[in-house]
């Protein structure tokens, strides 16, 4: 059978997988941004009760492979619950996927936000504080609005990295793009054309994101100070 014909034949199924990949990525980076904002600010705090837990979180999730994290969450946690509490839980692949990816992404995004805030000149915080603003107000009105522009490019990179990493979710049977490909290959043995199609779909998605980030970057630059 002609490779091209195989590619076209399975394209619709793979495309549906790609849509799911995008959905999980968007949800995870979105939730990861919320987690990352708080964890990043906590990493900047002088309060040890905030700093140490946030640092432990960031170090653990950046220092261990996402694949292992997924396995622990999906297979490990149910076993733990069983043996400790004697309750049996079955994980939902979609839920587990989003949880695992959000928490992982949050650790990277925390560092992005921390670096963004630290890149703002110290005089900005001092000027805000000298006007009587609280630390929170200074962050909210002065520091974060400036930091957010510097955070866009690395956030774009995180988006691309996450999109590719969601392929790891295939190990728990979550039917994103990679898993769809595996299932087709298992039936048809058409390894090359199916995985090549998957690769091209990943490439199109990451390329789209990087174009979009470049566009945002340009827009933010032309209006740099506002």
């Amino acid at each position: 059978m002609d490779f091209l014909a195989v590619m076209l034949k399975y394209l619709p199924v793979l495309l549906m997988g790609a849509v799911i990949t995008v959905e999980v990525t968007v949800a995870s980076v979105f939730l990861g941004s919320i987690i990352g904002l708080f964890a990043g600010l906590a990493r900047l705090s002088k309060n040890k009760l905030l700093y140490y837990p946030a640092t432990a979180y960031v170090e653990f999730f950046r220092g261990t492979p996402l694949l292992v994290q997924i396995m622990i969450l999906y297979f490990g946690i149910p076993q733990l619950a069983q043996s400790l509490l004697d309750i049996s839980i079955t994980m939902n692949p979609l839920g587990a996927s989003i949880v695992a990816c959000s928490i992982n992404s949050g650790a990277y995004i925390a560092e992005i936000f921390r670096a963004g805030v630290q890149s703002i000149e110290r005089g900005q915080m001092e000027a805000a504080r000298s006007l009587g603003m609280s630390h929170f107000q200074a962050m909210r009105y002065i520091i974060l609005p400036q930091a957010y522009k510097r955070v866009v490019p690395p956030l774009g990179n995180e988006f691309i990295a996450m999109l590719k990493d969601t392929s790891l979710l295939s190990v728990i049977g979550f039917e994103e793009l990679m898993r769809r490909g595996q299932l087709i290959v298992a039936q048809t043995y058409q390894t090359f054309p199916v995985y090549l199609t998957a690769a091209l779909l990943y490439l199109i998605m990451t390329f789209g994101i990087s174009r979009w980030v470049a566009y945002m970057e340009r827009r933010l630059k032309t209006g740099d100070s506002h």
Partner: protein, 239 residues
């Protein structure tokens, strides 16, 4: 208005301020001079708690600087102008000035912007309300920064070398605004190398060296009749 008693400040093992005692009365203009690294900025920054004193006591307008609540109360009463302006680059001149009255004094937008416009007029920049800092010259930025500090209606203004980062031709416009303020009776502490300003506007001059106040007096005494040899050396270099 400001009373400083036995103030010490260390950065790690470095002793930057050593037993500073001084008093600033209401409506007084005190000019602080001294060589680089003598602790002038640090003393100023201790007065509004941008730095924590290592030892000693500071009382501003009757409020001792200790608890967090007091610190915010004091920061509202004490305006500060920085060498590098530190305007908020993502806001227009008008927004720079009206933000703190709205967020800290809880003024509504209309009232805060009215004050901001009045202050812009006062510093001679009525036509720059909608302009972002990067489009202003250094002298204009510093005048906006002064207006921003004044918008909180402070009782005391601290200036840390407000003209040192400016091109020479812009120094005059900033000093003029400061002179106006002094004439209106603002209590001011000014770190500066502008000796003309010190003579003309200063009620008292403090000379700092190596973290201590070495000599203090009227501008007359300090400039015409200095006693301390290091003050003499400093003046001979700068005048």
């Amino acid at each position: 208005m400001i009373v400083i008693n036995g103030l010490y400040k260390n950065f790690g093992r470095l002793e930057v301020l050593k037993d500073i005692n001084c008093k600033v009365n209401e409506q007084e203009v005190v000019v602080v001079i001294g060589p680089s690294g003598s602790g002038k900025s640090t003393m100023l920054r201790c007065i509004n708690k941008l730095e924590d004193a290592t030892k000693g006591q500071i009382v501003v307008d009757g409020i001792p600087l200790n608890s967090e609540a007091n610190i915010n109360a004091i920061r509202r009463e004490v305006g500060m102008v920085f060498q590098r302006f530190n305007l908020f680059p993502h806001m227009t001149a008008l927004q720079n000035i009206s933000l703190a009255p709205m967020k800290v004094r809880k003024m509504d937008r209309a009232a805060a912007e009215k004050i901001a416009r009045e202050l812009l007029a006062k510093v001679g920049l009525s036509d720059k309300a909608g302009v972002y800092p990067e489009q202003l010259s250094g002298g204009q930025q510093q005048r906006v920064a002064i207006a921003r500090a004044l918008a909180m209606r402070p009782k005391i203004m601290l200036f840390d070398e407000p003209t040192s980062a400016l091109d020479p031709e812009m120094v005059g416009e900033v000093l003029a605004v400061m002179k106006d303020l002094a004439r209106e009776g603002m209590t001011m502490v000014v770190v500066t190398h502008e000796m003309g300003f010190a003579r003309e506007v200063g009620d008292r001059v403090i000379f700092m060296d190596e973290g201590r106040i070495v000599e203090a007096g009227t501008p007359e005494q300090i400039f015409a009749n200095p006693h301390n040899p290091r003050l003499k050396a400093f003046l001979s270099k700068i005048l």
